[in-house]
């Protein structure tokens, strides 16, 4: 594949994650095995697969939380081996990842405070991103006073405030009700188009994958999971679930899982 070598292209070659299940050298259990993938800077890439197929493991490896057992994983020209502020993570459970002792604003400013940015500068950055995710008027509230959807907005604003190149999202809307979920999907697409971030979005929901991604990587059922197919989704945003092209693509992917 010949893609422009932008600084935020993610190159994954023969990537493996395994653990030993017995004493013998051959008693190795692979979660993911020989994953090859190139994700362009600025792309919206969806990792789609059934539960337990290792898509979260792959995401956590890109984030630098989980070490690799073999292969290569690079962002630009740097080998990934630890978390970095170029790769922001939006977790599935906002309750376990947000800091409940900080207000919405303080949560959003966390990364900036760690970088010792002066208070007034921090404030203008947090104002901007709190506005972007539509949380104006909730700045002084604590996470426990917010609904599930609002908490995910806080997570999103919190990572965007650090201006990462890559957004890693692990089923962030999985715990939301259907209506909130739809709104969040629309807004995420809008934010992505405004901010030009690379997004890697993990989900097991085909419709969600089709609504969001430019490319959809299908992961096979584990163990020794792999990316078996990549679908291009060239439908224009905002996407219409009722459109016939949408439906056709949906069926193609659906049949993929029924085989």
């Amino acid at each position: 594949m010949s893609l422009p070598a932008t600084s935020h292209t993610i190159h994954i070659e023969q990537l493996r994650k395994s653990y030993n299940v017995g004493a013998a050298v051959t008693d190795v259990h692979y979660i993911i095995k020989d994953v090859n993938l190139v994700i362009r800077g600025g792309e919206f890439f969806v990792l789609l697969g059934p539960s337990g197929c290792g898509k979260s493991t792959l995401l956590n490896m890109i984030a630098g939380f989980v070490s690799k057992s073999g292969g290569r994983l690079r962002v630009g020209n740097t080998e990934v081996n630890k978390p970095g502020s170029d790769r922001a993570v939006v977790f599935q459970q906002a309750d376990s990842s947000l800091f409940p002792w900080l207000t919405v604003r303080e949560n959003v400013e966390f990364g900036l405070r760690m970088k010792k940015m002066p208070r007034s500068e921090r404030r203008s950055v947090s104002d901007r991103y709190i506005g972007l995710v539509g949380l104006n008027g909730h700045e002084e509230k604590f996470p426990k006073e917010l609904s599930g959807g609002m908490k995910q907005r806080v997570q999103l604003a919190r990572v965007l405030a650090n201006d990462p190149a890559i957004l890693l999202m692990d089923e962030p809307f999985g715990a939301l009700d259907a209506m909130t979920r739809r709104t969040m999907q629309k807004e995420l697409v809008q934010i992505w188009r405004e901010t030009h971030k690379t997004v890697i979005f993990v989900t097991h929901d085909i419709q969600e994958a089709l609504l969001l991604g430019e490319r959809i990587g299908i992961m096979s059922v584990g163990p020794s999971s792999n990316i078996t197919d990549i679908y291009d989704n060239t439908l224009a945003y905002p996407r219409d679930v009722a459109a016939s092209e949408f439906y056709a693509l949906y069926n193609r992917i659906q049949s993929h899982f029924e085989e």
Binding site: A63, G64, F65, K82, P83, G84, S85, R87, A88, V89, F91, Q93, S96, S97, F99, P100, W101, L102, F110, G111, R113, M114, K115, F142, R158, V159, N162, P164
Partner: protein, 258 residues
């Protein structure tokens, strides 16, 4: 019967009932075995008038407060380190779980030998009584910080030190608070034991010494003082937790009940 459900009515009735049963006991067994409310009150006035009661309360209070604060101040960082560093935890946990079953009172004689007959041995005893409870609670708190919190702090560019200071410590505060609060209880138990055995001042000394004069009413005064001292410090501490540590998720028992 709606009026019984009102809080002040039911509480007053309850206290009155308790006083009645107490008085009844005094009538049946005689004031030497069970001094009644009035006898106890008179005994208390006697002790107040010659100044010993306030002095004893003061000295017991001072010992508990100094030992408890110092013990907690040492225990919190120790608990944080043990919780954070796996190598230390593997080494320290069996040791902690061995030593915490030895009650403070069992150490009195040894502490007298090590720290002398004065205040030092008593304060050391309170520190011991405080230390393990606070360490174990802090340690549990550190271990139960969610991975996602630490991971998200990492990927927002926080250093290990910043994560300890800005994520682990605030997330652990409710556990530390509970530990320190429980330690207050054991501190009172330890100091009374110590004062009974090796002191000539303090509420424990008062209770123990009253037996020589067969003044059971003074013993009752001592017991009540202990109850009030514990109740008072717990309330103040709780109020502090509610006001200052609200955002860290410290819940007071009193607030829950309402």
């Amino acid at each position: 019967m709606k009026w019984v459900e009102k809080k002040w009515v039911s509480v007053t009735l309850l206290w009155l009932a308790a006083l009645c049963i107490w008085q009844l006991g005094a009538v049946i067994y005689g004031p030497d075995v069970i001094p009644g409310p009035w006898t106890t009150l008179l005994g208390g006035r006697e002790l107040l008038e010659d100044g010993t009661l306030m002095q004893y309360i003061g000295i017991s209070f001072y010992r508990v407060l100094v030992g408890w604060v110092l013990g907690s101040l040492i225990a919190i960082p120790v608990g944080l380190i043990i919780g954070k560093v796996n190598v230390i935890r593997i080494f320290a946990e069996p040791f902690l779980n061995f030593i915490r079953f030895i009650p403070p009172i069992a150490f009195i004689t040894l502490f007298l030998v090590w720290f002398g007959i004065g205040e030092q041995s008593k304060i050391a005893l309170i520190m011991y009584a405080t230390f393990f409870i606070v360490v174990l609670n802090t340690l549990t708190g550190v271990m139960s910080v969610e991975d996602d919190k630490i991971r998200s702090a990492h990927s927002m560019g926080a250093s290990e030190w910043q994560i300890l200071l800005h994520v682990i410590v605030p997330a652990t505060i409710p556990y530390i608070f509970t530990g320190v609060r429980l330690a207050m209880g054991t501190s009172y138990m330890a100091i009374i034991g110590a004062e009974m055995i090796a002191s000539n001042e303090g509420v424990g000394y008062l209770i123990w010494n009253s037996r020589l004069f067969f003044r059971t009413d003074w013993i009752f005064v001592g017991l009540f003082c202990l109850g009030f001292m514990g109740f008072f410090t717990d309330r103040v501490f709780n109020w502090f937790g509610k006001k200052v540590l609200y955002r860290y998720g410290v819940v007071s028992v009193a607030a829950k009940r309402r």
